[in-house]
Amino acid sequence: MKASRFTAAHQSMTFSRRMMLVGGAQAAFGGLLVARLGYLSIAQNQHYKLLSESNRVQLIPVPPRRGWIIDRKGKPIAINRSSFRVDIIPQQLVDAPRVVRTVSEILGLSPDEIDRIHKDLEISRGFQPVAVGDNVPYEKYAAIMVRIQELPGVSASRGFSRYYPGGPAVAHLVGYVGAASAKEYEKENKNPLLLVPGVKIGKDGLEKSFENMLRGQPGGQRVEVTARGKLVKELEPKPDRSGQSVQLTIDAGLQEYAARRMGDQSGALVAMDVASGDMLAYVSMPAYDPNSFSDGIGRTEWRMLSGDDHIPLLNKVAQGLYPSGSTIKPAMALAFLKQGIDPARRVHCAGGYQIGNRYFRCDAAHGSMDMHSAIERSCNTYFWATGLITDPEKTTEMVHYLGYGEKFDLPIPTQRFGTMPSPKWLKEKYDREWQGYDSANTSIGQGYVLINPMQLAVMPARLASGKLLKPRLSMVDKLRPASNLDADPEHLEFVRKAMAAVVNGSGTAVGSKLPLEGIQMAGKTGTAQVFRLGERGHQSNWALRDHALFISFAPADAPRFAIGCIIEHGGFGASAAAPIVRDCMTYLFDQQKAMDALAPLEQQWGGTLAERTARLQAQFDAVSKANLKA
């Protein structure tokens, strides 16, 4: 229609029509709003109710008590000890600088610590406590309690801290616990439990591997809080559930005895039950004190531990790799027997052996040797010569089969398993053919051969039992029946006899006979070259001395236990490692006799392990204090 024809009458009609439209649109909007309201409060009600509840109710996690770690007989290895702690509840804090100053004076906190507390207070959410002191001595706890009235916001309470009765003896076995790091917090999807002061998680060893079992279910104080973190009221608490205990196959007594018997030497010892493959001892020494780690180790202590040439921070059982030395010989012998070498075949040892253009020197001129006497007296010449007339692939395969270089499935965070070289391996790794000197090196456990101390126990255990035993560390894992070794029982018996002669005949370890009536130990010494073959024996420089090794089982005629031991830079296996194994073996049969043997030694070393650990700790503290003053 043309605009000029638009009249008042049209206008009135348009008005009515448009009013209808507007009114209709408004009604539609009203309907839409009510529909939306209905959708939110009926269809989405459950969803939003949940969100509203999670807004309203906050959980202040109450840490569960960590599960115990106990030995095969139920003796505690890691337990919880009641301790005292001091926290600050930011919301109740009045005059923060004064309170923090007073508390840190009472507790004697370092400037670093005070700085940390101030930072934590800044980012904290009102009702969540900020840790001030962990494992506070009773006197300081009491001093805080006396003045608690003038320290608003400070809370002194009893808690639990991890305690390892064995101290350093179990350090590398169980690891230690500590407050979660930022990385661990992220990894657990920001689990709020990890932020609660006093909550410790496994940082290493079994404490780390069994974290899921040990931790338990956190309970919590349920509180109603405002958006700004102000506590409104307390609701019904949610109970916590303690962590489960983890039972190990370890014999805590033997573990501690072995650790003490090793004294100040650097090394590792592993004991196994020959019937089951259960590991009875898992010792790496020297070690740090896990008790002082769980409180947060001081910087000085850390530096002094890292600087020690006996590397107390390294778990030598899991991560130490060593040449096996002559401990490989019983396995070599079994391999020779399997390939049809007559045990009576004799080799003349004139003090060495020529392979290619190189002359390999034996420890002595042993004269005419058969297989039995070659094991007994550890004659290298015999093994060099026999190695050249056998198949190196088959020989090395047998040694690997018996445990050297084998990977074990154990709940230990970081493990290294070493290498058992073979012609095939050499081809793949270094792309070269196996030579006579490779056979020679391998047959005396040198060259590429690298083993870990666990294998030093598995090998004699398998030889002794005739079974393909797998080491087991915790009772959590089911005991799996082991299959028989793929070896002639007569051959095994021959090797066992030869090993018995090493200790009880005219062998290399006759000085380490068991002081027990009717029980004989069988074994094999090993001396692993660190520096250069030919300069064996006494070295004035400790770090250049040979490693001493010893593998054994007892009783020789009806084996029950197997022990492998390595003493770093201990010199001859017979002189350093064998006596330790002898005493540990004695402990398994007669504890009193073993303790009697230990007493004079410890006197000579300046006290028991516990005494020496305490002295070391005092030394750390003194140095740390001196540093602080400087």
């Binding site: 605009a3 000029s4 024809r5 638009f6 009249t7 008042a8 049209h10 206008q11 348009t14 008005f15 009515s16 448009r18 009013m19 439209l21 507007v22 009114g23 408004q26 009604a27 909007f29 009203g30 839409l32 709003l33 009510v34 939306r36 309201l37 209905g38 939110l40 409060s41 009926i42 989405q44 009600n45 969803h47 939003y48 109710k49 969100l51 509203s52 509840e53 807004n55 309203r56 109603e224 809080v225 405002t226 958006a227 700004r228 409104v232």
Partner: protein, 370 residues
């Protein structure tokens, strides 16, 4: 209508149905503010009650003003408010900051608030003066557009997106009812669809953020989307019957921001549920219906258009706020009139209602067209 013999004639002639509706809405507001303060009359409920009573009296007072006087005052009032708007802009420019107030010593005036009813009245007056034959001509559009968009532009740069939007929507509604050609509005909608993205790029950062958050509030529930998320939680967790009076955890524990002003509806619905919310929406709807009926029954063109425009102002006030609170519109900072704490919205709506009552009175008393 109450018409008992014992009630004096002037009182009986007040639009009681509307007054009861308004009283119901205001009571809901005061009761909710009492709860929002954690069960206390201070600082909001009592003050709000006094404000409402005062402006209620003002509204009833306005209702006695004759339509002709309102008509005559429309242009001068519009010009005065416009000058105030410019003044605010200048003060803001000098003070180097967002400025929405003029401080007159005794009271602080927010001129953009007055602009909402003024725009409805001035357009009504404009189309009242415009001969019917010119409505569909160019001269029927551009002065009206200028009357709307110049002050809207001034408000937008204050910056106050919500009020600017309301001024535009109110003006456009009057233009629509005045009978401007339909294709204008279709074209404008098309242009808006195209211009939206361009406008978006010209927005202030905080405005742009609000729009983005509106599109996906859960993307940043702890940051800028917090308002919408918490408001929806409050409304949704109320369910059908609500959590009970004084039991709203979202508002009482401060999770719901602005629970006494822009998001007062969420505070109310959390405690009174769907039932309470629907009742409040229904009450507002009835008020608006009453306003539309005033327009329909008005006997002058000015009365028709002014009543429709003022009602539209109230409608947009309520619906934009509710859509925002329920997550259907971006957070633009528009309170729920008569319920939210604060005097400006009460004042605007009461002025609207007062003029509406005045128009209603005229339509009842005048027997013939003016």
């Amino acid at each position: 209508m109450i018409s008992s013999a014992i009630i004096p004639q002037p009182l009986a002639r007040l639009p009681w149905r509307l007054i009861w509706l308004v009283a119901l809405i205001c009571t809901i507001g005061v009761v909710t503010l009492y709860s929002a303060a954690g069960g206390s009359a201070s600082p909001w409920a009592l003050k709000q009650a006094i404000t409402i009573l005062a402006f209620m009296c003002v509204a009833i007072g306005i209702s006695y003003i004759p339509e002709n006087f309102i008509k005559q005052m429309t242009f001068p009032a519009y010009v005065a408010i416009f000058i105030l708007l410019v003044l605010v802009e200048m003060i803001g420019f000098v003070g180097k900051g967002a400025q929405r107030w003029v401080d007159l010593g005794i009271i602080r005036l927010q001129p953009s608030e007055f602009m909402k009813p003024a725009i409805a009245l001035v357009l009504a007056r404009f189309y009242d003066l415009l001969p019917a034959s010119d409505v569909r001509r160019w001269r029927g559009l551009w002065p009206a557009a200028a009357l709307v968009f110049v002050p809207a532009g001034l408000i937008l740069v204050q910056p106050d997106l919500g009020t600017a939007m309301m001024v535009i929507l109110g003006g456009v509604t009057v233009m629509f009812i005045a009978g401007l050609p339909m294709w204008y509005f279709g074209a404008a909608a098309a242009v808006a669809a195209v211009a939206g993205p361009i406008l978006f790029s010209m927005m202030h950062d905080y405005q742009r953020k609000r729009v983005l958050i509106f599109l996906d509030p859960e993307a940043d529930p702890l940051g800028a989307g917090y308002h919408i998320s918490q408001s929806k939680i409050a409304i949704g967790s109320g369910g059908i019957w609500g959590k009970g009076y004084l039991n709203g955890s979202q508002s009482h524990l401060d999770y719901l921001p602005e629970g006494h002003t822009d998001f007062v509806f969420a505070t109310f619905v959390e405690e009174w549920g769907l039932v309470g919310g629907a009742l409040l929406i229904f009450a507002f709807f009835m008020v608006i219906r009453w306003g539309m009926n005033v327009s329909r029954h008005a006997k002058t063109r000015f009365g028709q258009l002014a009543a429709a425009g003022l009602t539209a102002t109230i409608f947009f006030y309520v619906s934009i706020n509710l859509m925002m609170v329920m997550g259907l519109a971006p957070v633009v900072g528009i309170p729920l009139p008569l319920v939210s704490f604060g005097g400006s919205a009460v004042m605007t709506v009461m002025i609207c209602l007062g003029i509406l009552m005045s128009l209603e009175r005229q339509s009842r008393t005048k027997s013939s067209l003016a």
